[in-house]
C-alpha cells in the first residue's frame, strides 16, 4: 500500500515563550514490510539534530531560544507498506525482549487487570492467548475520546471502561506482561477507509512470541496491524514513544491543534 501522510501540529501560546525544547519521535524506519519513500519535517529550526534513543527510535531535538508565540511542526511523507500480519522484523532492537517485562507507572499490574487477562490463559498456544487478550481488551474498553489523558494508567482506564488507543495499548501491554509476554507500546499512523481527518496519531502494542519475534496487536480496533499501519516509535509505555515531548519557559496557556491526514496515494497517471 502506498500511504501519504500529512501531519501538522500547532502549539499556540497565550503569552510569549522564551524557550522551547522538544524531543520529536516523528520518523518511521524502513524495515520488512515498511519502506519510507519520502519523509520531511518542517519545524522552526533549520536543521534538526537527530539521534537514536535507547529504544532504537529515531529522535530529533528541537530548540528555540528566541521569543515565540507558536510552534508549528509539519510532517509530510510517503510510505510503502506490505501486509505482514502483525509480524515485525528488521527493526533496530538495541534492547533484549526480556527488558520489556518491566512495568512502569502507567502499566502497573493490578487485580483487575489480572482478572481481565485470566480467560486468555486457557488458550492453547502463545499466539492464541495474545489474540484472545486483544479481543478481551477490545470488548472491555469502549473507544471514547476525551475520557482519559496522557497520564491515565492501565488500571484507571480499565476501571473507567472507556478510553482511546493509548489506553487500549496500556491495558494490553500490562496484561500481556502478566501472562509472561514481553510487551511494548508503539506509536504510528493508521489509514482507514472511512475517516480522512484525524486529530491524533495512532498507538498499539507489540508482544514478543518465542520463535516468531515481535507481533503487533491493536486492541483499540481488535486486529493485528496490517498494511494500513505505519510504525514509528516504541517503548515501555506512552512516555517513551510519545511523538512530541517538550518543555517551555513562559507562554501562559497552550492551545494544541493537530491535523492529520493518512491517504492512499493515487496511482500515478502518465501524462
Amino acid at each position: 500500500m502506498q500511504l501519504k501522510i500529512a501531519h501538522q501540529t500547532i502549539y499556540r501560546y497565550s503569552e510569549s515563550v522564551d524557550y522551547t525544547v522538544q524531543q520529536l519521535r516523528l520518523f518511521p524506519d524502513s524495515f520488512e514490510g515498511q519502506q519510507v519513500r519520502a519523509w520531511t519535517i518542517e519545524a522552526p529550526q533549520d536543521s534538526l539534530p537527530e539521534f537514536r534513543d535507547g529504544f532504537g527510535n529515531r529522535t530529533a531535538l528541537l530548540t528555540l531560544d528566541r521569543p515565540h508565540r507558536q510552534v508549528v511542526l509539519r510532517v509530510i511523507g510517503e510510505v510503502e507498506t506490505e501486509e505482514m500480519h502483525g509480524v515485525v522484523r528488521g527493526v533496530p532492537e538495541p534492547l533484549p525482549p526480556a527488558f520489556y517485562m518491566r512495568s512502569t507507572s502507567r502499566t502497573r499490574a493490578s487485580e483487575g487487570l489480572e482478572r481481565l487477562a485470566r480467560p486468555a490463559r486457557a488458550e492453547s498456544s502463545p499466539l492464541n492467548r495474545l489474540h484472545r487478550l486483544m479481543s478481551l481488551v477490545h470488548l472491555r474498553i469502549l473507544y471514547e475520546p476525551g475520557e482519559t489523558h496522557v497520564a491515565t494508567t492501565a488500571d484507571e482506564a480499565l476501571a473507567h471502561g472507556r478510553g482511546v488507543c493509548q489506553d487500549h495499548a496500556h491495558v494490553f501491554i500490562t496484561c500481556a506482561r502478566l501472562l509472561g509476554f514481553p510487551a511494548r507500546y508503539v506509536s504510528g499512523y493508521l489509514w482507514t477507509a472511512e475517516a480522512m481527518d484525524h486529530d491524533a496519531s495512532h498507538a498499539w502494542a507489540e508482544a514478543w512470541v518465542k520463535g516468531l519475534g515481535w507481533v503487533g496487536f491493536d486492541a483499540a480496533n481488535g486486529v493485528s496491524p496490517s498494511e494500513s499501519y505505519v510504525r514509528m516509535a516504541c517503548g515501555l509505555d506512552y512516555g517513551d514513544a510519545a511523538p512530541v515531548r517538550g518543555v517551555r519557559r513562559g507562554g501562559g496557556s497552550e492551545v494544541l491543534n493537530v491535523q492529520l491526514q493518512v491517504q492512499q496515494a493515487r496511482l500515478q497517471v502518465a501524462a
Binding site: 525544547v21 539534530p49 535507547g54 530548540t63 531560544d65 526480556a98 527488558f99 517513551d240
Partner: protein, 472 residues
C-alpha cells in the same frame, strides 16, 4: 569470620605494630588536655570553613558538623599498595560491566548474571543502551567502601559509582591535621592528597567529547544549596576553578549544552554532575524535576557532552548486583579478584531468605536500595522486638533485602570523652578513571564514635579521621 577484633595500632595482642610506634609514643608525650584543646580548635576551624552536612527529618538544626577525630589513621606503604591494586582492578571490572551491559550484554548471554536481575532493575537505564562514551568510561569517580578485619584481610562492603561524596572531608581533614599537629606530621613521611582536585580536573578533561573544540569547559552541576553535600560541590568547583552550576544555568541549543553567563551562552563540554539520574532531564526522566536540564539526554546521545559519572551507573553498585562483582573481575579481566566481597545472602533467593530469617541475630540486613545506613538492622545490637518487625518486612518483600555477617571491623585509636580508646573504622578510597586510573593515597576513614558501634555513617553519629598512607 574472626570473632576477635583487630586493633590497627596494637594488633590482636597489645603489641604495638611498627607503623604506629611513633604515633603511640607521641600520644604518650602529649598532655591529654592539649589533645582535647586541639579537637576544639579543629571544630572551630571546620565551623568557620562552613563544612556542614544537612540531615533532614530529624528535627533540630539541619546544618550539622561531622565530628572530626584528631588522631590520624595510619597505613603502611605495602598495605596500601595491595589495597590500591585491588581497587584499580575492581573499578576496571565495574566499568567494563557497565560498558557491556549498555552494549552487547555478553555477561547476560553467558548466563553469569540472571537477566531479570539486571533488565528489571530500575537502576538499569534503557536510555543508555547503545551509547558510546569517550574512552568507554562510565565510572569517572568511584568511592569503594572497605572494611578490615585483620592485618591482611580487607573486604569491600559497598561500591559507590553514582555520585560518591566525602572527598572534601578527606581534603579538609588533611589541612586541619597538618595545621594542628605539624610536629606529628614531621615524624612521618606521608603521601600527599591535596592534588586530588587537579587530578579530578584532568580526569574530566580527558573524557571530553571527541568533537569538543579547543580546551574542554568543565562545570559542576549541583542540585543547589539545600543539598546535603552542597558544601562539597562548591568546594570542588572552587578548587578546580570551574563554574558551579544549577539546572537553571544550563540550556540546550541546537546540539549542545550551554551555560548562561554575563558574556552570553558558553558551551559546556564536561559536566561533573552531582544530581541523580532521575532528576537530570525532565524530558526523559522525572517530568516534575526542576533540578535538571531539559534536552540534556538528547545532547548526551548526540555526543556533545560528557556526564560524569555516566547515567545508569547505579546498576553496578546495586546491592543485589554486588554479589557478582568477583565474577565480573574474572569475566572481563581474566584475573582473580584481589579484594574480597563480604558473603551476602540475597533474600530474593528462597534458601538465602530462610537462612537470613533464622539467623537475624547474627546478621546485618540492608535494604537493596537503601543508603546512608538508614533502614538497616544490625542483628547483634538489636532487640527481639526490632528483629520481629524487621522479619515481617523481609517476608513482605524479600527481594528488597540482602544480609551479611556482622564483621568484626578493625579499630583505631580515637579521642573520646574518657581519653584515647579504640573505635571501629571503615575506609572509602576515591578512584578516578579517565585516560588512566588515579587513586589518591588513603581516602576517607569513617569512625563509629559510640563504643562498640559498627555503624560509621555520618548520618548515624559517625565521625571522620585523616588517613595517612606512609611513603615506602
Amino acid at each position: 569470620m574472626a570473632e576477635r577484633i583487630f586493633n590497627e595500632m596494637t594488633g590482636y595482642d597489645s603489641r604495638t605494630r611498627p607503623v604506629y610506634e611513633r604515633l603511640q609514643q607521641w600520644l604518650g608525650e602529649i598532655p591529654p588536655d592539649l589533645l582535647q584543646l586541639r579537637r576544639d580548635e579543629a571544630e572551630t576551624l571546620f565551623r568557620r570553613i562552613g563544612i556542614t552536612f544537612a540531615v533532614y527529618g530529624e528535627g533540630g538544626d539541619p546544618e550539622r558538623l561531622i565530628p572530626f577525630d584528631v588522631i590520624p589513621r595510619l597505613l603502611e606503604a605495602q598495605e596500601w599498595e595491595r589495597i590500591s591494586q585491588g581497587l584499580e582492578q575492581r573499578v576496571k571490572a565495574l566499568n567494563a560491566f557497565l560498558h557491556d551491559l549498555y552494549h552487547e550484554q555478553e555477561i547476560l548471554r553467558s548466563g553469569m548474571i540472571p537477566e531479570e536481575l539486571i533488565l528489571h532493575n530500575p537502576a538499569y537505564e534503557p536510555e543508555m543502551q547503545g551509547l558510546d562514551l569517550p574512552r568507554q568510561v562510565y565510572t569517572h569517580i568511584s568511592g569503594i567502601d572497605l572494611v578490615r578485619i585483620g592485618p591482611d584481610d580487607c573486604y569491600v562492603l559497598e561500591d559507590n559509582v553514582r555520585t560518591p561524596s566525602g572527598v572534601s572531608y578527606m581534603l579538609e581533614n588533611r589541612e586541619v591535621t597538618m595545621r594542628l599537629f605539624p610536629e606529628l606530621f614531621s615524624r612521618y613521611s606521608v603521601e600527599p592528597v591535596d592534588h586530588y582536585c587537579e587530578e579530578l580536573l584532568s580526569t574530566l578533561q580527558s573524557v571530553a567529547p571527541r568533537e569538543c573544540p579547543g580546551d574542554p569547559t568543565v562545570a559542576v552541576l549541583t542540585p543547589g544549596i539545600h543539598n546535603s553535600a552542597y558544601y562539597e560541590h562548591s568546594f570542588l568547583a572552587d578548587q578546580m576553578g570551574v563554574e558551579l552550576v544549577e539546572g537553571m544555568d544550563l540550556f540546550v541549543r541546537d546540539r549542545a549544552v550551554y551555560m548562561r553567563t554575563t558574556q552570553g551562552p558558553k558551551r559546556v563540554d564536561v559536566l561533573y554532575r552531582r544530581v541523580d539520574d532521575a532528576f537530570l532531564d525532565p524530558l526523559v526522566f522525572n517530568p516534575a524535576s526542576m533540578l535538571g536540564v531539559p534536552g540534556l539526554m538528547a545532547a548526551y546521545r548526540l555526543g556533545t557532552i560528557t556526564l560524569a559519572n555516566a547515567v545508569g551507573t547505579g546498576i553496578a553498585d546495586d546491592k543485589a548486583v554486588y554479589t557478582y562483582v568477583p565474577e565480573m573481575v574474572r569475566f572481563y579481566l581474566g584475573e582473580e579478584p584481589k579484594l574480597k566481597n563480604v558473603p551476602t545472602w540475597q533474600c530474593a533467593r528462597e534458601d538465602d531468605c530462610r537462612y537470613v530469617l533464622e539467623h537475624l541475630e547474627e546478621l546485618v540486613v540492608k535494604e537493596v536500595r537503601g543508603s546512608g545506613g538508614y533502614g538497616m538492622l544490625v542483628g547483634p545490637k538489636s532487640t527481639s522486638d526490632e528483629r520481629e518487625r524487621y522479619a515481617a518486612r523481609i517476608r513482605a518483600n524479600p527481594g528488597e533485602f540482602v544480609a551479611q555477617p556482622t564483621l568484626a571491623l578493625s579499630t583505631c585509636p580515637t579521642l573520646v570523652e574518657e581519653g584515647v580508646a579504640p573505635r571501629h573504622v571503615d575506609l572509602r578510597p576515591f578512584i578516578l578513571m579517565g585516560e588512566s586510573v588515579q587513586i589518591i593515597p588513603g581516602g576517607l576513614t569513617r569512625v563509629a564514635l559510640r563504643e562498640g558501634s559498627l555503624v560509621v555513617n555520618s548520618s548515624q553519629g559517625g565521625g571522620t579521621k585523616d588517613t595517612w598512607v606512609l611513603k615506602s
